[in-house]
Amino acid sequence: MTDRSVRPARSLARMLARALRSDYAIALGLSVIWMIFLLIAQRGTGFARDEGFYFHFGRLAWEWIAELFRNPSAALKISSIDQHFGGNFEHPAFMKMLFGASEALLHERLGLVSISTGFRLPGIVISALAVGFCYLFGTEVDSRRAGLCAALLYAALPRVFFHAQLAAFDTAVATTGLAVVWAYWRALREPRLSRFIVCGLFYGVALATKLNAFFLPPILFVHWLVHVSVGRGDRRSFWVFVAMAIGGPLILIGHWPWVWTDTFSRLGQYLSFHLHHHYYNTAYFGKNYNRPPGPASYAFVLTAFTTPLVTLLLGLAGLVLVWRARARYQIALLWGLNFLVPLLIIARPKTPIFGGTKHWINAMPFLALFAGVALARATEGLRRPLAALVIALAAAPGVVDAWHAHPFGLAQYSALAGGVPGAADHGMLRQFWGYPVRPLLPWMNETLPVGTQIYWHDTNYESVATYKQQGLLRKDFGGDTGWEEQGISASRLALVIPELHFAKIEQWIWNSYGTATPIRILTLDGVPMVTVYRRPPR
């Protein structure tokens, strides 16, 4: 009797142990660990400009979903769809729906998290999955150690660590894009229906995440041509493209109510928005760019200046190692193209370059994969503690920089650039999005008189409103005093978030306040992040 009851329990325990040791479980575990770090870190990170918009449009998307369940016929009216989705058609609805649903469920209904964490959680979860996919891809191509190293090196990229905290799309599409490439590669290895379908579904999700996914099929097709011609691969794997051609549009259009009417015209508007994107300002080697031609070197130099040097060198070594390994050149080509093409797109003179590293951050998992293979090779044959030490030292520069730059992650520059002060000397982009004001809020709450009118500069209204809603900022402070000189004239306290093209803002403040003396400056390594002026009493 006793034996019989113990046997199933033992068997279950063995199964559980096997499952926990499986690569999928390890991948999930790694993702969860990184997700926890991101969740903790984001509590100190200010609300980026675009996040303010996505908070708003996330709420609208959720309102529409709720309406769909309450009153489907009303929700499905064009006017309702346009009201909820028409204000922001530059990105598909997928992430915004998740932002809104997460906030509504986890904050409003359950009270488990703050408003901002509610909005940010879906982006964090999806971004964190990239660590798992790095592990899986590295493991399947090379070894568990390579996968583990790739996952670690990706998680330790300081700019990735910053963007992954936000309610935004960039590191999310890095994940969904990586998932597509991984699924494509698996479909090539074993061309069967289930793998085609998985790739098609992943591609649909990637397309629904952000437009970077449009560039994946051409990249993969070039790779496939080499695979079937030079590599004599199985031509049946072409079905993976058919799956993507079906899954992509199906999910993109299917999930996005705004394109359910006038589908082609509206998809055209969506694409046109990006093809004719406004050129915002960005600084590069002391020059302000806000019109084409942009500098071709931009993405390459910024990658070199923001990625830990050890990771870059390991990435190069990994490329050589993978390329030279027998029958691995196809992987080198696949990873290499997926790393290089996002940078080359930015290198086009007409591509707007305002977003710093985030616009090609989907290249970074592939750099991490190359670096992971190299690091695995470097530590092969070492005793486990020694190997762990070498791996930890390889990841250390990224971890140290990400930790040190927090919560000013956009200002992070690596040792190659001379750190933050070195980048300031070079006249590089220090920040954008108006997010770095958050560390000022406790001081503002403690010291400013009741009802102080504040000129918030580049911090947008929605971000300020969320700080107030979340109890991070006193509600008695005046809201946005307005734009530019009028906003400054109406204010008693003015913030300047230094960027090259914002120099005139500071000069307007001097003109209006009659003083050039700030009362407080937030710095990172001695470089100003936010400068605060107070109007002197008359």
Binding site: N288, A516, G526
Partner: protein
Amino acid sequence: MKRAFALCVALAGLAEVGVQTAIYLHVPSEASWDAAAAYVRAQVQPGDGIVFAPHWVDPIGRLHFGDLVSVEEAARPDRSRQARLWEVSIRGARYPEAVGQVTDDRSFGRVRVRRIERPAAKVLFDFTAAMPERRHVGEIDFLPYLCLPARPGETLTFKDVPMGASIAVGGGIADFQSRYDSDAPVTLETSIDGERLSDQSFDNDGWRRVALDTARFAGHPASVQFHLTAARPRSRTFCFHAEVHQ
């Protein structure tokens, strides 16, 4: 071979962390800035200039030096009148105009203070200061200049100006958006007692200085006119400063 590779990786990681740590530790402390400010405050004389280098550290300098750096000083368009300049710098940077004899040079932690002495111009008349209601700080080439804004077609007239050997004029197109919107040059015509002395062209290339020879008018007051023209006046937000030098 693999052990050498592992050793290289480990050393590279260590070295990079070492460099990062050195960067973090080389940041000047608040105490260094305060000590430098206290020293300059004790030494500074009326008419001295205070400048910071590199330019990005300017707000931090102004924070610590407080009232020593007024708006006029922070945005001074022409420092030729200043016989003594206090250059406060970090990271070995130099202020471009801080050229002359170094008569004091000391460091406060990682903040360096140099006093530079040089021959100064004697200013007989400051056109910008003469129009306090009009003057403002303009952004030209992303730097602040206290200057007189003028639109194409405008004429500014100054009567009874004491004349000297030259008029130093500096100017440029204010506001980067204007510089992006147009590249048309503007021309500043300078006339003395109705006689056209000079036409100077200014474009988007930052703040440009010229010295106009007025020796033949020296010694007596005159009427000075500045008239701005532009073939394409859109977005030409010109701003200039002028002063009469003895």
